[in-house]
Symmetry: C2
Subunit: 429 residues, 2 copies
């Protein structure tokens, strides 16, 4: 056993007990963590400043530096987030259904934590607190590996989370922190101990994780979202939605990457777009194919379709029907979030039914795809997989269930021979 | 694109439309399939007889031959199964929750099929009908690869299912049949088109599938189930449960493989066991370590712990506490199904909370772990994974969900700037 395996095995053993820990202990741990974050604020900010200046010396890119930085605002919202999480109902131990199979033989399906969650994230140290707290609330164990740039920040934040957990009666090893890059590949091999991996970072990083482990992976590599402006769209709504979906945070996975325009709306859309575009950051439009003579575009190419620009760049393509738009999205999209702008109910209904994405929207920006905006309290990430959790993933995505069957000496032979037969009566609980 | 990819791509395109097909069409397809099975009974049995005699000539093992054989009984229960499935509620398009995020901005979470299910099964041709019918009911597309021994039986059964589907208005390519062995590895590479794989067959076969694809796999490789006879067990219940759990169908994945006996119950357990054992097929007990002087056992070894015998052989080990039994099960088990025999509520409660398996039972046989016995109407298989579906998997395990968000031109910028704020009011639907 290498050291990472030993750590994973210890977290696995602890996770069994975390799963059956009282709700009170788990909530107390969250409140304690909020307290410690507040008390140790100066220390956290000092250590983070040291990480920042080391990162600057190493010539780290500006957007990365921005993600690495902690400040009073970010700490305040972490503290609020922890307190909000306490208020959410316990997701653990809920009876999902109960059924009497026969006299004296009762089946119950009960929610329980998945077990050990491995989280590998880049840069943003507050992710450590957010994810550890969701794992504590749900009764999962967690193995956390943060970006090396945030080494010192992560150490302090981890110390706060594990201290809060231990002081509240949770098992000693319910959380673990990995620090070296080599431990990532060792963690990917721990399929005996780790039940689910959640990678958060660049596309290539997530893709690397997905391609190199037998452990189920939850998350998304690409975020290629579309806005389709239908022939029955209101151009005023359409132009604002397009600008927001692209520019509100262009590096986010739920930002729009391709604009599909119905040929009969293109003229009035561009007219409105030109009228309001200066209210938003400037977008570089890249036309793929003929776009009805509009001259405000760069010349794009087929390669721009299905491409994630992560910048204020938007591919534009003209289509002849809602069916063509749907087929385009299902072919080039990443099953993340796609929006139709239309005043026509039939077009919207068709779009809802046939677009094969986690989020399918009408008359609103793709940027709404987010756990906080959905009212989940918090999110561990956004899943583009269709198995288990899909879209923004909150506490529910960290749960599974087990079947409890309670008998009085019941054997299957009696049912196979016909001496007894099943009743299957659903029970109210 | 190789031929398998072309097939998978066509099923993917069809699956989008199957997902949004009316419930009536899907139910009509099931009734039509039941009709055709009945009408073409003689043809099915003749073709199956040809498969059987070819298999016999090729010297195929007897248990495999038994699985290959179709007869009137099996066909009758397939027909009944199809009609029962029609009666089950439509799992598709159910609103799981609805929430008003703000004025005019409504989020709905709606159940929908996963998409394309790839099923690779050995021998039993009736699996083709069972799985295809679950996929039809749930609105999934399916790619089916059966055992080569059942080639002709599978062809007729597939023809019945696809004819029934097409005649009921389902898309032309909602089901596909693969016939050659090489197509399995090609199918495993179709992660662009196949959303979930369900392998049904030997442990090594399932393990091979799991190790050679990026597509999520649902099912189980090993089935290592335990019965733990607690110090507070009723020996009469215990002896019958152990005999049933081992012998009722020893090759099944939910058969018991290891008996754990509390040291203080061993004597009275063996006394009762010797009294009743002749009512059941003979079990070879393999003692691992000291088993309190009972002489009716072969000498076993550590290698027998966690071993799936698939035969009337049972490892026996003595433990000193319920905690030791739980730790043993979590270490050697396969997270399938494990049962405690006890009259003590505290021991049962501890067992329920800490055993990390899909099924955790009290005072009944592990052989109850089955979709029909649970009242699911049918099952596609049993999952020992903790992600997505767990335990016996029925229609629900073939579903996922999508988020529908309906606005009136809502953009995220208004919420980021504080012009608007979220209301998050859950809606009754």
């Amino acid at each position: 056993m290498n050291n990472t395996e030993k750590i994973a095995c210890a977290v696995k053993d602890a996770a069994i007990f975390a799963a059956s820990s009282p709700e009170d202990n788990r909530n107390r741990a969250l409140l304690k963590a909020a307290e410690l974050l507040s008390e140790r604020r100066a220390e956290i900010l000092a250590v983070n400043a040291a990480d920042m200046s080391a990162a600057e010396k190493n010539g780290i890119a500006r957007p990365m530096l921005k993600r690495l930085a902690l400040n009073d605002n970010k700490l305040d919202s972490l503290i609020t987030g922890l307190r909000d999480l306490v208020e959410l109902p316990d997701p653990n131990g809920k009876v999902r259904f109960a059924r009497q199979l026969d006299d004296g033989l009762v089946l119950k399906c009960i929610s329980c934590p998945i077990g050990v969650i491995g989280v590998v994230f880049e840069a943003r140290p507050e992710a450590l607190v957010q994810i550890a707290s969701l794992c504590i609330k749900s009764g999962n164990g967690a193995i956390l590996k943060g970006g090396s740039e945030a080494l010192n920040s992560n150490r302090v934040l981890f110390d706060i989370m594990i201290t809060a957990a231990r002081e509240s009666g949770l098992p000693e090893n319910c959380l673990a922190l990995l620090e070296s890059r080599e431990q990532i590949s060792e963690l990917l091999a721990c399929d005996k101990y780790v039940d689910l991996l959640i990678p958060r970072g660049s596309n290539s990083f997530v893709r690397y994780i997905m391609d190199n482990t037998n452990i189920p992976v939850m998350g998304h590599a690409a975020g290629v979202c579309h806005v389709y402006v239908d022939e029955h769209a209101d151009p005023v709504k359409a132009a604002r939605i397009v600008c927001d979906a692209k520019t509100q945070y262009p590096a986010a996975c739920n930002a729009a990457e391709t604009l599909l325009l119905h040929k009969s709306i293109a003229g009035s859309f561009f007219k409105e777009y030109d009228r309001i575009k200066d209210e938003f950051p400037k977008i570089t439009l890249r036309a793929v194919g003929d776009i009805c003579g509009y001259t405000g575009c760069e010349q794009g190419s087929e390669d721009d379709l299905g491409r994630e620009f992560s910048d204020n760049v938007l591919a534009v393509k003209v289509v002849s029907s809602v069916e063509e738009a749907i087929a385009h999205i299902n072919r080039y999209g990443s099953k993340h979030t796609d929006s139709i702008v239309t005043e026509n109910d039939d077009a919207a209904e068709l779009f809802f039914r046939l677009v094969d994405s986690a989020g399918v929207y009408r008359n609103c920006s793709t940027r709404f795809a987010d756990g906080f905006r959905y009212g989940f309290g918090a999110e561990v990430g956004i899943s583009t997989s269709k198995i288990h959790a899909r879209g923004p993933v909150g506490l529910d995505g960290l749960m599974t269930y087990k079947y409890i069957l309670i008998g009085e000496g019941h054997i299957v032979g009696d049912y196979a021979s016909g001496v007894k037969s099943f009743k299957h009566v659903d029970m109210i609980f």
